[in-house]
């Protein structure tokens, strides 16, 4: 009995414990949205006009100084690209320190220091603040702008520009900006080789002397420093900074066009199309629609659970990712929806994009989407606040955009108060699906016609300028005639046909590394081999013979598929034009195009199974000047020299997505009709 009662009591106890247990069948509910306690920014202004804010945060013994120049955007015109050099030129040495000394002194205290055309940033541990301020002030007051540094930066910039001309994303970005803002707007103008070469040290110096003025500057101090101390150090380092008159600029507001149009850049070697659907948008931080526009974008295309991603990737599988953005800027912003899609589905993808945009504007969002988007945005907003850079940014924005003092402190509450009706109204106000630029960068021959359903199609070049449409003077010209002309230009059919095989070695330089290329052509027997080597070591090789193909790289050898062999075959002849007929290739003439300033016939060569390559033959000389190939990229031919009575190019420029910079290859040796053995094709 006693025993029983104990167990009874025990079970009672257990029961009570059971009662105290939480309900595990439900996820705990969210607590009330937290208020963000951003340290109140304290401000003061120096006599020279420098506005300072101090966001004290003693969590860590560190302090950062962010200097921002608030000037109107500048139209650089003939010097486009100049402002991109200012920051690195400033940190390239002062009257007191060489660049090396500056770097060493920064590293020694574990600090960082950087500059741009409109800002400077320095940070260090609290105890090194005097040193880092001394270095910052030295850079601010005494930069020497060495010519050598500008030469280096210009060279880097030109290399970058060359790369960007073949980069579909860069082409798309340049085109979209040029259309949305206009080329005579600071946000739409384009830096070219010419404008970069126009930049001089004097330009950089004059920019610095004009715009680095305290009366247009904000200094945000974030970290272990209070206002009293900030006043002392700011006075010490920045009070002697002389104010000056800074020019102001206004620009016409970019307008939306009357109806949707399609802008196309033909990049024949593309296997994907970069789509960007865009229009200008007036929106700045603090506008009535600003926060709701964040939510709206989150629902449309802000992330991996947004409508565009779910439709174009998860449902249709057109792309790796589809997104949208709604910008915010004092001058003018942009709405954009974008993705890179397979060439074949370009029109379907644009259709889905337009459909999603129209549906969003017409039918609005759901309550469920709203709740998800809010919590997603609130989460990333909250996490971003941990970085002092974000807090500095908020303090600056509050003044720059004249926001209420508690704008960011109550940001989440304001966002959480938004209703479905608010978001829907914002969508209607901001987005006009009937006035879009639909920009596409891809294989024009494949996509141009299909794009006509979305608006008038206008072609542009890779710098965002309208493509030169060249009239064909000789209307009777055909693809076959172009090839005939080419063969007679190189020396005639008889001499050309006498070349049945060739061995070619070439050398090239990729960013300091010597690259060797060797090719063996046995046109008569349809054998081909190619090797790429670095410092004598073969890095990659491919062989086509006996109807088979292999590719070897990194110690692995892979058999080519039938399709790959077909595609490879197109570029496996030394003089391919002699074999177009016997290979039953079909030829199509696609007009006259501008190839780096030379007018050339574009001929599309297609194998019976559908593999294709594109050659360009100069209208004037008849010579082949360019080949486009989906696998190998673009090859430009030049320096034609006579060998065995036949003109053969001795210089190749190869541009491929696989290599970071255009490859300049020179022919080192050329043997015509050599004796070939099986060893040449191993």
């Amino acid at each position: 009995m006693k025993k029983i009662s104990i167990s009874f009591i025990l079970s009672l106890l257990l029961f009570t414990v059971g009662f105290a247990q939480v309900d595990r069948s439900q996820f705990p509910k969210s607590g009330p949205a937290p208020e963000i306690k951003i340290g109140e920014a304290e401000t003061f202004t120096l006599e020279n006009g420098l506005k300072v804010f101090v966001v004290k945060n003693t969590k860590l013994p560190r302090v950062s100084f962010t200097l921002v120049l608030e000037r109107d955007p500048i139209l650089e015109g003939e010097k486009a690209g100049m402002t991109g050099f200012v920051g690195e030129m400033m940190t390239a040495g002062t009257t007191n320190r060489t660049k090396d000394q500056l770097d060493e002194e920064i590293d020694f205290i574990g600090a960082s220091l950087s500059a741009s055309a409109t800002s400077m940033y320095a940070s260090s541990l609290k105890k090194h603040q005097e040193k880092v301020l001394e270095l910052m002030a030295d850079v601010l007051y005494n930069p020497v702008f060495p010519q050598g540094e500008l030469d280096k930066l210009k060279k880097q910039s030109l290399t970058g520009l060359a790369q960007s001309k073949d980069n579909p994303d860069a082409i798309s970005g340049r085109l979209t900006s040029a259309l949305v803002y206009g080329k005579n707007h600071p946000y739409g103008e384009v830096a070219t080789e010419a404008t970069i070469n126009n930049v001089t040290v004097e330009d950089v110096k004059s920019y610095y002397q004009t715009y680095f003025k305290p009366n247009i500057a904000y200094l945000a101090i974030v970290g272990d420093m209070d206002k009293a101390e900030a006043e002392v150090v700011v006075k010490k380092y920045f009070a002697s900074w002389k104010s000056g008159k800074v020019p102001t600029f206004t620009y016409p507001v970019p307008q939306r066009q009357a109806k949707n149009t399609v802008a196309l850049v033909d990049r024949s070697s593309s296997v994907q199309t970069v789509i960007d659907i865009a229009q200008p948008l007036e929106m700045k931080i603090g506008d009535a629609d600003y926060i709701s526009s964040r939510v709206l974008n989150q629902i449309l295309g802000g992330g991996s659970s947004s409508r565009l991603f779910m439709n174009l990737r998860e449902d249709k599988g057109y792309t790796y990712g589809a997104y949208s953005s709604i910008g915010a800027d004092k001058l003018i912003a942009q709405f954009s929806a974008n993705a890179s899609v397979r060439t074949e589905v370009t029109d379907s993808a644009v259709y889905e994009f337009m459909n999603e945009i129209v549906t969003l504007v017409d039918k609005g969002v759901t309550e469920e989407e709203l709740v998800k988007a809010k919590s997603n945005l609130a989460g990333s907003f909250g996490r971003s606040l941990e970085s002092p850079a974000t807090i500095a940014n908020f303090a600056l924005n509050t003044v720059r955009y004249n926001l209420p003092k508690d704008y960011y402190a109550t940001y989440l509450q304001k966002m959480n108060a938004l209703t479905v009706a608010d978001i829907n109204a914002t969508a209607k106000r901001l987005i006009d699906p009937t006035k879009m630029y639909v920009t596409v960068v891809g294989n024009g021959a494949e996509i141009k016609e299909k794009m006509a359903q979305f608006g008038e199609v206008v072609e542009y070049d890779n710098m965002g300028f309208p493509a030169k449409e060249i009239e064909m003077a000789d209307a009777s010209i055909t693809a076959d005639k172009v090839i005939e002309n080419y063969i007679s230009a190189i020396g005639g059919s008889e001499k050309a046909s006498a070349i049945k095989a060739a061995k070619v070695t070439m050398s090239a330089n990729v960013m300091g590394t010597a690259l060797g290329l060797s090719f063996v052509y046995d046109d008569a027997n349809m054998r081909f081999s190619q090797k790429t080597s670095i410092a004598g070591n073969v890095m990659q090789s491919s062989v086509l013979k006996d109807g088979k193909g292999t590719v070897s790289a990194q110690g692995q050898t892979i058999e080519m598929t039938a399709d790959q062999i077909e595609a490879g075959r197109l570029s496996s002849f030394f003089l391919p034009e002699l074999y177009f007929g016997s290979m039953s290739y079909t030829l199509a003439l696609d007009g006259i195009k501008d190839v780096e300033g030379t007018q050339a016939y574009k001929v599309i060569i297609t194998s019976p199974s559908g593999a294709s390559t594109i050659n360009y033959y100069a209208v004037e000389s008849g010579l082949k000047i360019k080949n486009e190939n989906a696998q190998a990229g673009d090859t430009f031919y030049s320096d034609y020299q006579e060998r065995n009575g036949v003109l053969i190019p001795m210089a190749y420029t190869i541009k491929s997505p696989m290599i970071p910079v255009p490859l300049e290859a020179k022919v080192e040796s050329l043997e015509l009709n050599p004796t070939l053995t099986d060893a040449d094709f191993n």
Partner: protein, 442 residues
């Protein structure tokens, strides 16, 4: 020359470092079931990180079942009795959070970073994981495929990806550190569902876990939630297995060649280290920074910039509870033989052993270490992790506030001494990674 002297003087003046580390306040308690809880309140940002450190890593594994600890890191996202399969990540993301986990030779660490009004959710999720995670055949089968892909991507398909497993295999002959956390696919394939369930019962118990929460929290409310979600989780029924194996000191160099899918040869050297909480760890960490930390470090300056024999050199002390390894690797420049690079690396090691380091370099090292330590505590996620490690590895949560003191005890002479003592050529492991094409045919 004059400049040099002036700098020397300046360094002399700085030689009593004013330590910059701010104290990190925390509160800690242990539940009856053995779960150790650490709370750090920081209301600056309305976010909170909730983490659980399970004191189980690959060293706790059965030598016939390697890879279990890492496999569990995957399995533990499969859900629980109350969380449907695949919902663990979705619910965290839908509430505005992010999450992740990792496994080392010593520990397994999980964390969720959420808005602070979702702390209760995070505690619920982690308590579900500890109380009754789903360890079933479907989950095992799914995650086995994922781990296979991870293995391919990170080790097999990655040039030099096998450096760690190949090095560990040779650096340890007795201790279970001889296998890497990724373990053996054969072992995972051979394991039965009972074995997985047993591993969960053995190691995923409150008395083997540390719950570390940092951020915008209220101490009382948090403790209340912790008690209500975690108290009911039963204590493990047996003592947690921890290997008590002393790795014998090696008396001869181990030298091998690995033929890999690479183009450029690499040299790897590994030296056995003392236990992680040994006082010499600090000097060794400074030594590695001196050798390869940053562009002005000894080996980077000499071998990459000046001699251009290496594309990159790195010294990484892999600090482990029972004594890790100091791994040094160099990837050769075009046309340089592995042997040639190794000779130069050895020369520089000998230089440090024979002549030590300069006053200026020592001062710079102190500055860099100080900066690193301060920056290591710049996020609540970092603080939660450092607090948990301080408790588990150093047996003292307040160690987080003493790291800087430990570094400041290191002298210039210590750096030379540890270089001599631990970078001992006779017991080291040397591996050459060479292209498969260089493999002699047998």
């Amino acid at each position: 020359m004059r400049k040099f002297t002036a700098l020397g003087l300046l360094v002399g003046m700085l030689s009593i470092p004013a330590l910059a580390q701010n104290k990190i306040e925390f509160k800690e308690f242990t539940l009856d079931n053995g779960l150790h809880v650490i709370l750090h309140k920081d209301n600056t940002t309305p976010i909170v990180v909730t983490s659980v450190l399970y004191h189980v890593g690959s060293k706790n594994e059965n030598p016939e079942r390697t890879g279990f600890a890492h496999f569990f890191e995957h399995l533990m996202f499969e859900g629980s009795e109350n969380i449907e399969r695949g919902q663990y990540m979705n619910i965290i993301q839908a509430r505005g959070g992010t999450l992740n986990a990792y496994t080392s030779n010593d520990i397994t660490y999980y964390y969720e970073l959420l808005p602070s009004n979702e702390l209760e959710l995070a505690l619920y999720m982690e308590s579900e994981r500890m109380l009754h995670s789903k360890v079933d055949q479907i989950g095992v089968d799914t995650q086995r495929e994922v781990v296979k892909e991870e293995r391919r991507q990170r080790y097999e398909n990655q040039p030099y990806g096998t450096i760690l497993p190949e090095t560990l295999k040779r650096a340890y002959v007795a201790h279970p550190y001889q296998w890497a956390p990724i373990g053996s696919m054969d072992h995972l394939n051979a394991a039965t569902i009972d074995e997985f369930q047993q591993f969960y019962k053995d190691f995923y118990v409150p008395n083997n876990a540390t719950l570390s929460i940092a951020g915008d929290l209220d101490y009382d409310q948090t403790e209340k939630w912790v008690r209500s979600y975690f108290s009911e989780i039963p204590k493990g029924q047996k003592e947690v297995y921890r290997p008590n194996i002393i790795e014998p000191k090696k008396t001869a160099e181990t030298r091998d060649i690995i033929y890999d899918n690479i183009q450029i040869p690499a040299v790897i050297q590994a030296y056995n280290l003392p236990k992680r909480n040994h006082p010499d760890s600090y000097a060794l960490s400074m030594l590695s920074t001196y050798l390869t930390g940053g562009n002005s470090s000894l080996m980077t300056k000499e071998l990459v910039d000046k001699q251009q024999k290496a594309l990159v050199v790195a010294a990484i002390p892999l600090e482990l509870e029972d004594g890790g390894v100091f791994i040094m690797y160099g990837i050769t420049n075009m046309g340089v033989e592995a042997k040639d690079l190794e000779t130069e690396i050895d020369k520089l090691i000998k230089q440090v052993q024979d002549t030590g380091i300069s006053d200026e370099d020592f001062a710079k090292l102190q500055n860099i270490m100080e900066n690193n330590i301060v920056s290591g505590n710049s996020t609540v996620a970092g603080i939660a992790e450092n607090l948990a490690e301080a408790h588990v590895v150093y047996g003292n949560t307040n160690y987080i506030n003493q790291v800087m003191d430990s570094y400041s005890k290191v002298t210039k002479a210590d750096i030379q001494r540890v270089a001599k003592e631990y970078l001992d050529l006779t017991g080291r492991v040397v591996l050459y990674y060479l292209p498969k094409s260089a493999q002699p045919t047998e």
